[in-house]
């Protein structure tokens, strides 16, 4: 009975969502086939993926990571170095590097992640962004590998001009589907529950026997690896990497903005957020890029989202629907006060 009940409640909706999503991903570049349209789609999918990957740490675990630009940059540089120094070749072959880059980054961040995750809240946010500054310094200064501020030109693949963007589009689409699948798997497993507990009250979660260090580490590592994969495809697509561009504070902030807009902690929120923001972002960059009004528009958009839609689009809508549904029912009351309400910050100076 419970099995049936659960089945009928979640499964068809979930499968339907997944099919609709994959179907849309497959046909989009055919329907919107112009160069600028496919280009826009490539960036939309990339940001949807980046925002979803960020959500694993920033949303599910509630750790405000600000430095994911570092992992994106690592992926981008790994691709650039792989194609130029290692002689992987061109055409479709560099795509084979994406998976090793993702796995390699996921493993390589473990030591630093362990260090970062010993801190919480504001300190974690601060440290995560310093990691990005660190990676940027490496990119500028280890010139033998990165060519410093000159950057690295990645060979342009010999894809036919009319459908040049398509392979990149499908690479991004596969990565995005993978990222959403990972997020879904995390959410519907023990891991998701544990991350939820960490977000609500980490000390209590640990007291209840949740291996908080381990689950945070897994989420962080997955998130970093996926972010690096997008960086790798991006580098091949743009065919040029340069420190200020590949390791960009705006990239992390953009992904966070999208996750916030769509709804943190939700599965589809980041995708929805990206679908709304990336076109606007590309428009601003195209229209105002040279005059730096672009940055102002970006900041303004961020503030609007935070002040007008603090919960994001998806949760706000769901809440409204739920309220309609339960309007007649009496309001329920929790037996325990939220701890923060009693003592919002009782720490010593």
């Amino acid at each position: 009975m419970t099995w049936l009940g659960r089945e009928s409640r979640t499964r068809p909706g979930g499968a339907l969502q997944a099919f609709a999503f994959l179907g849309a991903l497959a046909v989009l570049p055919v329907v919107m086939g112009r160069h600028w349209q496919v280009n826009l789609l490539v960036f939309t999918l990339m940001y949807a993926g980046l925002a979803s990957a960020w959500n694993l740490v920033g949303g599910y675990a509630g750790y405000a990571a600000l430095g994911h630009g570092a992992f994106f940059g690592i992926g981008a540089y790994a691709m650039a170095i792989g194609t130029t120094h290692l002689g992987v070749g061109t055409g479709y072959r560099p795509f084979l590097l994406v998976l090793p880059i993702a796995v390699g980054t996921a493993l390589a961040v473990v030591p630093i992640a362990r260090l970062l995750l010993r801190t919480r809240a504001a300190t974690f946010a601060v440290l995560s962004i310093t990691v990005m500054f660190m990676v940027q310094t490496f990119a500028y200064n280890i010139r033998s590998l990165t060519h410093g501020s000159q950057g690295i030109a990645v060979p342009v693949p010999p894809f036919p001009f009319t459908t040049f963007e398509r392979p990149f589009y499908y690479a991004m689409a596969i990565l995005l589907a993978l990222t959403v699948a990972v997020c879904w798997a995390v959410r519907s497993s023990q891991l998701g529950l544990a991350l939820n507990a960490v977000r609500d009250d980490e000390d209590r979660a640990r007291g209840l026997g949740v291996q908080t260090e381990l689950v945070k580490l897994i989420a962080f590592s997955l998130s970093a690896g996926l972010t690096a994969a997008f960086g790798a495809v991006w580098a091949y697509y743009i065919s040029y990497v340069f420190p200020g561009f590949a390791i960009d504070p705006l990239l992390s902030l953009g992904a966070i903005l999208m996750a916030f807009l769509g709804g943190r902690h939700t599965l589809w929120g980041p995708v929805v957020g990206a679908a709304l923001i990336v076109p606007a972002q590309q428009y601003f960059a195209y229209r105002y890029g040279a005059s730096h009004l672009y940055l102002i528009a970006y900041a303004a958009l961020f503030l609007i989202v935070i002040y007008l839609l603090p919960d994001g689009i998806l949760p706000s809508t769901t809440q409204r629907l739920n309220r309609l549904r339960t309007r007649s029912r009496a309001r329920t009351t929790p037996d325990l006060l939220p701890m923060e309400a009693l003592n919002p910050r009782g720490e010593s100076e």
Partner: protein
Amino acid sequence: MHLIVQATIGGILIGGVYALLASGQAMIFGVTRTVNFAQAIFAILSAYLSYTLFSDFGVDPFLSVLVLVPTMFAFGSAIYIVFLRRLTRSGAELALLVLYAMAIGIQGTLDYFYKTNTRVISPGYTNHSWTVGGYQISEVRLFAFLLAVVVLGSLHAIRQHTKLGRALRATAQNPTAAQLLGVNVERVSAIAMGLGVATAGAAGAVFGMVVPFNGNSQYDLLSKLLSISVLGGMASMPGTIVAAVILGVVESVVAAKISPDWSAFSFLVVLFAVLTVRPQGLFGRRLRGAL
């Protein structure tokens, strides 16, 4: 050896300016529990204003501090009242993102008005220096250091010996208890934000004489500032000052002995080295619950 001592002197002097900037950050964090991700761009903003006052009106940068400190105080308080006040309940994390977004918006505004070429404020005495016992002491840096000492001293006096100072400390230590004794916590937070941004105003005005800057320099400065904050223990003013001077010296010695390219990096190395041993920073106390 001579080189190291020379670099150490320079490092201590510039460390004073960092201390100024970072103490403001610590004050804001202490009272509002918000990391001010816009502290660096506030300093750059002040550097640009000081630049304009100097190049268009001939006002000496050290004199422009007298105008910039109250201006930035008002600016900081206004930002708290308009943007941050309503966020306190939903979490410090949102406030941090708002300030980060604001930093980017301000950078865009500065880039728009001043373009992105690097500038430096150079009054006649920029290259003057005294020689003491064979070591060069740059006039600008010494004055900048003295300014930092004066501002930090005043801040300390306010905190320790005035009613406002007691309210600031009380709010930082236990906001609910402060409120129950009649402290208007929101007003005190706005003042703390104002004071914190005002230190960025003072630091920026002189920073612009020591280091060439543009809007994008905010990231370099922010990375230094954040390292100092974490190392100093986020809310601890004395800790922050010590961390600032240590990092100023490390940076300066690395620049002299290895390469200026790695000087900013040295901040991060020191930071992570310390954190492996003490996650709460050099001077931070382990706080109850989340930090």
